[in-house]
Amino acid sequence: MSFVQNFPCFSIVLCMVAGILSTPMKGKQAKNLTLVVVTLVALMSIATLGYVIGTGESYTYMMGRFPAPWGNEIRVGILEALTATVFALVMLFSLLGGMDHVFKDINESKINLYFILVDLLLSSLLAIIYTNDLFTGYVFVEINTIAACGMIMIRESGRSLIAATRYMVMSLIGSGLFLISLAMLYDITGHLLMEDAHEAMIRLTQSGQYEIPLLVIISLLTVGLAIKSGLYPFHSWMPDAYGYSTISSSSILSSLVSKSYIILLIKIFYRVIGFDTIITSKIVNVLFVFGLIGMIMGSVSAIMAKDIYKMIAYSSVAQIGYVYMGIGLATEAGMAAAIFHILTHAITKSLLFLSAKGLNDASGRKRVYPALQGAAFRNPLAGAAFAVGSLSMVGIPMLAGFISKILFATSALGSDPKKVLPTLIVLSVSTILNAVYFLHTVVRIYTPVGEPGEFKGVRIHMAVGAAAALFCLIALNFVLGLYSQPITDLIQQGIQMFA
């Protein structure tokens, strides 16, 4: 057994330990520790990814002393390692990008608490990605929820408290549904480990037993996770949660947390229930329809939104719609597109949130559009970053968003003929809507203020870390946009490893 194989486990544990260690620390120390840990996790994930690509096959890693089918396992394949890598990197950049705001927004005595939550969140994200055990998945989903909720409410403003409450209630409903579906799944299969459950599932489907309970399970499971990831119409908590927490939290929440549930869902689809069963159950069609509606309605809400964060938050609703639409296409290519979009969205949305904050700083912390006029001149880097992020979201070639769009569209062509035109047309319409709100904002921030206004002479220089984070995210966007082939290949291989 290679030493690298331990890394996933290490990284999960490392995060937890770091969380515990941070408890007595001061804010600054906790911050440094967290940054180191996140970096380490990123490095380890890269190493794992390299290892998995090298061997070309996935491996399971036994947690504790009991072997399957009783013990607990994690499983590492290309997709898991890739997701973990991107998540850790985005986490790192988000933290760096919003670091000064963390210290500004949060009561000094609670800063270490924030980093504890970050550590916990990362560990739970990694666990959700890697786990091979359904119930472990559930437990970490809850931990994830708690940590995320903490990250929202730690700012302790009225808005963030309410946002946290709403978020919590919706999440709990989701996880309740998820839990009951797991319980039922366990009931009919008798297993919690994914492989074993899958084998039992194959036997069940072949014998034709438990058809209705199976349908109920799939529905509950999907609905539960869809609620948690904020699929339209379960998105009501998103704008407030993203709009009123400290910027690192917004960035992390929107790019990672909601996506981790989707990853889990895809994993369960493939590894437990079996993709063919999912297709025959028609649940994908439901996802498809809601995905399409989400793509449009999210964008429409974003157009109506009056402040920039809410706009970005609503855009997330639309983007999650894209992902579910990809899943709903019910083809491997569609799934690959969805996963690619998860990555694209992770790097782009964090870029947007961070740069929006930069622009907001340059406009006297006002978040409404009129105040943002000319902000790009007062904070050039943030302006450029916002422009790149927007263009990527709109799907301008050379940027990551374009590749997702191409992948979605090409996979649509390979799917059910009835879905081809709706997908393509909604894709186009949604692109236009995206253009309407994103490019409107871009034009706005690049419009000079006519007469010397209140921000005359204001020029924001971003902190080194934040600037570096923005640079890296921009670079990642271009990398995904120009050299997407390796990544899409990896995703394809990863999906094949699932099966």
């Binding site: 437990v139 009225g158 919590m168 309740g176 319980a183 366990y186």
Partner: protein, 126 residues
């Protein structure tokens, strides 16, 4: 159907309870009631799990007299799951309660609609 219904009485109770809890959590305005709903929902799942793990005529999976015959004991895993679940639900409940307390301190209300109204009023004042 009849006999099956009787055999699965616990599961049926669990599902009904789940529904009750779910509805309460989703629809009730009062924070405390929401939390109660949450707990009912979780408990329903535990009941479900425990009922599944129970096998008539067997004993709890605690070694008695060093007898390791598998057929003597009920399935231990659901019990383990229930325990884990309880821990999770306790922590979630705690978090919810703490949130409620903070909200109450700030807005002097437990009604979520009321809280929203007050918050908006407050923001307008600024």
């Amino acid at each position: 159907m009849g006999p099956n219904l009787w055999v699965n009485v616990e599961e049926i109770a669990a599902v009904i309870l789940f529904g009750v809890g779910f509805t309460t959590l989703l629809l009730h305005k009062n924070m405390i009631k929401k939390i109660i709903g949450l707990n009912i929902m979780d408990t329903a799942v535990y009941l479900f799990l425990a009922a599944m793990g129970y096998i008539d005529g067997r004993v709890a999976p605690i070694l008695v007299n060093g007898n390791t015959d598998v057929n003597l004991y009920i399935n231990p895993i659901p019990s383990g799951l229930v325990l884990t679940g309880i821990v999770v639900s306790v922590s979630v409940t705690a978090l919810m309660l703490s949130l409620t307390i903070r909200l109450y301190r700030k807005y002097r209300s437990l009604d979520i609609d009321e809280i929203l109204i007050r918050m908006q009023r407050e923001e307008l004042k600024k």
